[in-house]
Symmetry: C2
């Protein structure tokens, strides 16, 4: 069993093209022995956003704090603390912070298959 605080986990700036003001922590990943999927925490600063893109894999998201918008195929859904978002694979999407505080959420993804 691995038990730790998220603050013990290294936080990295997301440098992907189309990302603005986004940081990530890989809380549980293959490095910790997770066999199937990874838990990441994202922080998006006010006005920031993740890239608007699609990919083969799904997202399972839980909003921890802040307010923002989940965009899907151009349609905007308001999100805030205690909301859940499921993004199926191959759907265009991103997340924007439309509030005045940091938007924080968990985003889980399956491990990439070789």
């Amino acid at each position: 069993m691995l038990v730790r605080s998220i603050t013990e986990v290294k936080q990295d700036q997301v440098e992907t093209e189309g990302a603005s003001g986004v940081k990530i922590r890989w809380l549980i990943s293959a490095d910790e022995g997770a066999p199937n999927f990874a838990m990441r925490e994202f922080e998006i600063e006010p006005g920031g956003h993740t890239p608007y893109h699609s990919h083969d894999w799904e997202h399972e998201v839980f909003v921890l704090s802040g307010e923002g918008t989940a965009v899907s195929e151009g349609k905007e859904h308001p999100i805030k603390k205690g909301m859940v978002v499921f993004v199926p694979g191959r759907e265009m999407h991103n997340f924007k912070n439309t509030g005045s505080e940091t938007l924080r959420f968990l985003c889980l993804v399956p491990h990439k298959k070789d």
Copy 2:
């Protein structure tokens, strides 16, 4: 994209033998089209606990509120809001609420293979 508040999701009492004062919400599951893994939210009342057991699959846990103990092979680890727990498959474990408020956490599991 599915977007909803956890309060919109039906909450059930966990009736498994060895569980006491435990409720579950299946936030994202195969029913919502998730292909690989499921997100559940657990609430444990003060003094309550999940069954002490093991199984083949892993748990990826994020503590949302409250205080408690994650037990692994008889060893107790304190947990509280903002902590992450990875429980590998085949490890004896449970979660106990040792505080005075409800212990709430997310616990994600891979879908069962047929």
